[in-house]
Symmetry: D2
Subunit: 344 residues, 4 copies
Amino acid sequence: MILFQCDYNEGAHPKVMEKMLETNMEQTPGYGEDAHCRHAAELIRKACCDDTLAVHFLVGGTQANMTVIDAALRSHQGVVSAQSGHINVHETGAVESLGHKVLSVPHKDGKLDAGQVEQLYLAHINDDSFEHTVQPKMVYISNPTEYGTLYSRKEIEDLSSICRKYGLYLFMDGARLGYGLAAPDNELDLPFLSQHCDVFYIGGTKVGALFGEAVVIANEELKKDFRYFIKQKGGMLAKGRLLGIQFETLFEDNLYMEISKHAIRLAEKLRSAFLEKGYPMLVENRTNQIFPIIPDAVLEKLGEKYGYCYQERVDETHSAVRFCTSWATLEENVDELIEDLKNF
Amino acid sequence: MILFQCDYNEGAHPKVMEKMLETNMEQTPGYGEDAHCRHAAELIRKACCDDTLAVHFLVGGTQANMTVIDAALRSHQGVVSAQSGHINVHETGAVESLGHKVLSVPHKDGKLDAGQVEQLYLAHINDDSFEHTVQPKMVYISNPTEYGTLYSRKEIEDLSSICRKYGLYLFMDGARLGYGLAAPDNELDLPFLSQHCDVFYIGGTKVGALFGEAVVIANEELKKDFRYFIKQKGGMLAKGRLLGIQFETLFEDNLYMEISKHAIRLAEKLRSAFLEKGYPMLVENRTNQIFPIIPDAVLEKLGEKYGYCYQERVDETHSAVRFCTSWATLEENVDELIEDLKNF
Amino acid sequence: MILFQCDYNEGAHPKVMEKMLETNMEQTPGYGEDAHCRHAAELIRKACCDDTLAVHFLVGGTQANMTVIDAALRSHQGVVSAQSGHINVHETGAVESLGHKVLSVPHKDGKLDAGQVEQLYLAHINDDSFEHTVQPKMVYISNPTEYGTLYSRKEIEDLSSICRKYGLYLFMDGARLGYGLAAPDNELDLPFLSQHCDVFYIGGTKVGALFGEAVVIANEELKKDFRYFIKQKGGMLAKGRLLGIQFETLFEDNLYMEISKHAIRLAEKLRSAFLEKGYPMLVENRTNQIFPIIPDAVLEKLGEKYGYCYQERVDETHSAVRFCTSWATLEENVDELIEDLKNF
Amino acid sequence: MILFQCDYNEGAHPKVMEKMLETNMEQTPGYGEDAHCRHAAELIRKACCDDTLAVHFLVGGTQANMTVIDAALRSHQGVVSAQSGHINVHETGAVESLGHKVLSVPHKDGKLDAGQVEQLYLAHINDDSFEHTVQPKMVYISNPTEYGTLYSRKEIEDLSSICRKYGLYLFMDGARLGYGLAAPDNELDLPFLSQHCDVFYIGGTKVGALFGEAVVIANEELKKDFRYFIKQKGGMLAKGRLLGIQFETLFEDNLYMEISKHAIRLAEKLRSAFLEKGYPMLVENRTNQIFPIIPDAVLEKLGEKYGYCYQERVDETHSAVRFCTSWATLEENVDELIEDLKNF
């Protein structure tokens, strides 16, 4: 079986593994207070062109989301999210388990827009019984979204403006950020994100690391006491250096972007093959997640040899599925799949 | 600097790293539902001589503690712990952050006894306003304790009996379990723990792994739905196999016990050197944590070359400190310290 | 100003006040462990024709909802509710503040149906990554709903069957239960509710009491330790007898139903007047909440003399509003409003 | 039976009941936004000589404690309390249920002192792994304490200074505040409390009301959004006016202090009788709770006719018990008890 079902089917990029081995018997202090973490944070601040940013390393995406959100909100405040948002659907209610309501709103291909946020905020403050409802205080978006779509520069600027106008925090989940930044239609970069988000993270788990997300905090209010929250939520790795070492490697010599581009190049190749075959896309995007609509009969045959992720039924004989590429995808596997597609 | 301050200053045992490298580009499903995790769980069940046990792998100790405790308790129930217990002191209130009170009681060298538990339980149920107080439902102990001390067979049997008599769960934190089982005065083994605890964990982070704790659940009530809690608490690693691979390695060819014995042998050597030098111990134990009471003047000199952990002031000119050994400790470093000790 | 905006604009029914006065200097034990509470519970069990029911008295509706829900759910479990449900919209996230997600689903005039619950439950258990989503465990409905609509006998039977089939708890919020039971199209009664719900409550705050809701628990699992939860959520009144005294009064000589009928009779009268005037209803119902759609110009005039509750804009010149009657509504006030309506 | 076991055995002061009756059929808006609540708040601000204070009315003490504490703390912060503090012992872990650790410290007759608070705070910030422990942010005291003792002016000044020095909030639980202010050795008054506490409350439940506590907030930070918390914790009474009406009555014509003095006069009388009889006190105080140490044989006889509260065993034949007086205590009952005491 060749797996395309997600972007975390393998271990880490060989350079990451090499650095892990090389530093294995070094003695360092625990809990992220070592030179590797400091260096990695420095590299990320540099990549963001802002040396005032706070950078923290967490093990995974759910952990990053719940830690950031709990650190930002008081008990009566909630976080606005697209209904399809990861925090609203796929984290077993982690945000609620910490006491905060996810204020979900309809989305377009996984995206929120500034108008929705403004409408929701104004509806709250103009409600006579506003104190009987949860106060919106943070906006959660992801880029790429769950549907692999991207926000434009303008869309982020608008979201950021609205958030600042009303005192809301803008938080971007960047679990697949590399695959967004490397997409042909991407308009964003790290300095832009640092300027427009209050907090965001750069995903490592899906982009070359064994695990790890780099949380970047721009807003001073959110920097205060953040490490207490990491510890309390169970996210403070005893051997914190493991995170530092991985992000050091990813942010040296542009590795993070290079391996992201690899995934995108293969995704484009595969996407074209589906389209040429006459399989339309459930959602248009140019990132590493591809959502072709495929006849069920073909899917069955594909499934004997290739792992993919079932997305949703489209009609009686067609389904949308997800194929992912990643830093680890072998071109020969993509080529084999393309070849097979022609014959099915 | 040579660090003895804790047992997580290095990476992982070379065999663990080797296996990580070897399996790096394998494709597996995520979230711990892969063959490595299944195999590792199988090996642990075998080591415990009980094939009905549920085994789950979590990244760290605080995460394991909070996940187990939250999965076990309803909102009105609390967990009994020694005042010195890790959950009571060093987890930034993680248990409370999930809504549960830690019912702390005085300890003797880090240990609880069955009599204390019974007394606390009876005081609760005999209180006229018992519903105004937190209901004790779980007993948390660690072995070795925070002071490196061990429970005897009899002590665990008594705790287990009392807990079963009153419907309490017995939970053992085994973050350093290997260093307990390998101690010269140890009376316990894994099958015994499986029979007497409702749930316990086998620490990997401090015993040869990069990170990871294997939670072993014996009580049927606690097995139900446990994976939901792992996910909700942010502990479900996307590349769950990393945990499986590490525990596979540790539980093949007795590696876990062998490397634990190494740490104990060096601890014994170092402990003897302190005693010979005339430095008494704050607490008597035979595990990998050593708590000598040392003149401050000597400490200052030691501190220029060796990392240790400050524990507490004993009198105006003496302090108790902690030195740890581990699977990674080099004998030459211990010898050098012993040599230096003679000269200070 | 004559207020019709809600059903809690006045104090308590004169008979309730009389009994409060009469018993004022009696000495009783605190926290609901007095003879009045015992007697009131007995009367309610009798009215429900089931002497095994647990009956507890709480001060208000939000408190009742959060206490029942938190007592019923483990941390990974959620409660299904109509999007319009009070717990989802108007309790400042009280349920989430205790760690539980409200799983909201679309509604029809405030109601859920058994098919929706089954679909949601099956979607959960058939999801490959079900452990990444909140487990549905309780279904919350209210009768009358937020829109004043009622469940039929058949609808409750179906909901109850589905819940029992899948191990879900059925919980009915009866903050306005009296006004449901007294409606001309009502098909339910207390014994039926006791048989089909796992837990429900009989609202006093809106039906003749100063405050108070009587929580009736039929399911044995939910009875256990319930008083701990009342205390923990801040709902255990020191002078618990105040609740007992009020419900004693309401459940003697059929007072609860009589005063409910009064409200319904006046609601019917007022509803007819709106319809005769040519104002259609936003929602059809026969309970104490009336939702006429009224020209804005008329509303403005009405607002000078009568309090009503703004519901929603219907078109550019019409709005839906809410008028409530209650046990306290004076017929002369209704008549005056009807007279004025004719002239506007 | 004549009950002296607590100060909430009866209903409300006749003047309160009278006002409740008198206003019963008035129509007012709900949720505390009515003229009675505004007036009551005004009277309390006047009594405190500070018209910038925020005043909110809550139903009971546990509710007031949990609402104030949750509104004040972020998730990683805890509240310092005497081990004997009500929040630490008798609220079924309400504070922990909202995610916050109670940092309990030893007490002297129920009291904390400034030195303890400073020591605990400094220990926290000087701890190398301070982020692994709960951050102290609020200090909870009660006056009178659980032992009926009072803070002196100097003690409160010192606590207040230390709290301000380190950025901690000072919170006084005044469930029995009237009985403190009316004590012969009292040194405090409401203006002093407003100046030295960040927040405190004036207890009504035990001092003349059916129920109700008036929370007085002096610190601007704590005023913000407080009503959201009242609603979320289930404490926002639909008929909020009931609280306003009661406090209006209590704070007109000095009623609150007058009825408090009544309780104190009778307590002094009863205390003297115990002392004359040769029964020493477990704790010295001059408030409405009396803790005599009495021979068990006498207690048995007393128990046939009088309700008291068992406190603790003192030796094999003696126990400490609690007798309370209140606004409702009849002098004839006290006299009868004193007479009986002479004969036992």
